[in-house]
Point group: C2
Chain length 195, copies 2
């Protein structure tokens, strides 16, 4: 019993480091870069508010748990900006090693179930994972639209890139939300080209 | 449909401000104060890892949702440090007004259900709310133990105060965790008295 709690709290203490992993995106007020812990909180709120948009068969409670743990690997592997030039195979290997180390801080039964849930999210094949991935991709475009471009400017992103890297996964899980968002993106990028 | 999404995203954008509400507690590495958004993420992770400690009848999925939204009122009302001198009636009124304004950004059906879930958490009477409150109280003592006192030093907290303000709610929802934590707290405060 005591050993089990010792292991659980060792994991929970280690998880504190996610608050120091910075993402490419900024807060909406522009004051600083966003970290992966507060990002994880925010996209869980997205998932709760937009739960009515989930495809039949999606279990929002499982989606919330996926989003809760999905970025913990970044404690060891860092954040790979979606619009950066990333060696995806190398990054996947780094993240898998991070998942092994970090989840194994937990008692073995929990280590296995957390690792499996993270693996399911990464594979993006199950209905829950497809939905979770589209929620995950949605927050940055919303913030960038409000802040006049945000991380799109830093990475010189075009509408075509955005449609490929963000549009494809968002449309897969949240087609109506993408239909709502796309005209706003088109307007923004058209104004930028003129301007 | 479009109006509904407009309202939902207005709420989700406003929620971004929780990332700028600072708490009395610091990150475990001591680098800065913690904000309420990343705190909310962290205690949801606590709730997931410690779900086996929940009393019979507690629904962890509801607990996670409570913890996800429990601090949003701080966007308007600010964070009231647990060991600070706070006018609790004035704070409760401020938080209720904040809940009204913030949740009403959502479509009315969601505004009602979020407001009700937040009210249930605040009342701390239902099994889910009792459990959520004890999880919420647990993170700061864990961080303060690791960091050599943390916010206990800033507020000159004694073991007796800690037992009253943290021990009572934690013991209510997580008696075995409190039994695990109390000897560590006693050792810490005894060492501090010896000095």
């Amino acid at each position: 019993m005591t050993e089990r709690l010792d292991a659980q709290f060792a994991f929970l203490r280690e998880a504190d480091k996610l608050k120091s992993i910075l993402r490419a995106s900024c807060l909406i007020d522009g004051s600083r870069h966003e970290n992966s812990a507060e990002h994880s909180w925010h996209i869980m709120l997205y998932a709760l508010v937009l739960s009515e948009q989930a495809a039949p068969g999606v279990d929002i409670n499982r989606v919330l748990k996926m989003l809760l743990i999905h970025d913990i690997v970044e404690i060891d592997a860092g954040d790979a900006p979606i619009h950066g030039n990333v060696d995806h195979a190398a990054m996947a290997a780094k993240e898998a090693a991070a998942a092994d180390r970090l989840f194994r801080l937990l008692p073995s039964d929990q280590a296995e179930s957390f690792r499996a849930l993270w693996g399911e999210f990464e594979a993006a094949e199950s209905p829950d994972a497809i939905h979770a991935k589209s929620i995950d991709r949605l927050q940055t475009p919303i913030a960038n639209l409000v802040t006049g471009g945000g991380s799109w400017k830093d990475y010189d992103v075009t509408l075509e890139q955005l449609e490929a890297r963000v549009g494809v996964p968002v449309k897969r899980g949240l087609p109506k939300v993408w239909a709502w968002l796309l005209p706003k993106l088109q307007t923004f990028f058209a104004a930028r080209e003129r301007g």
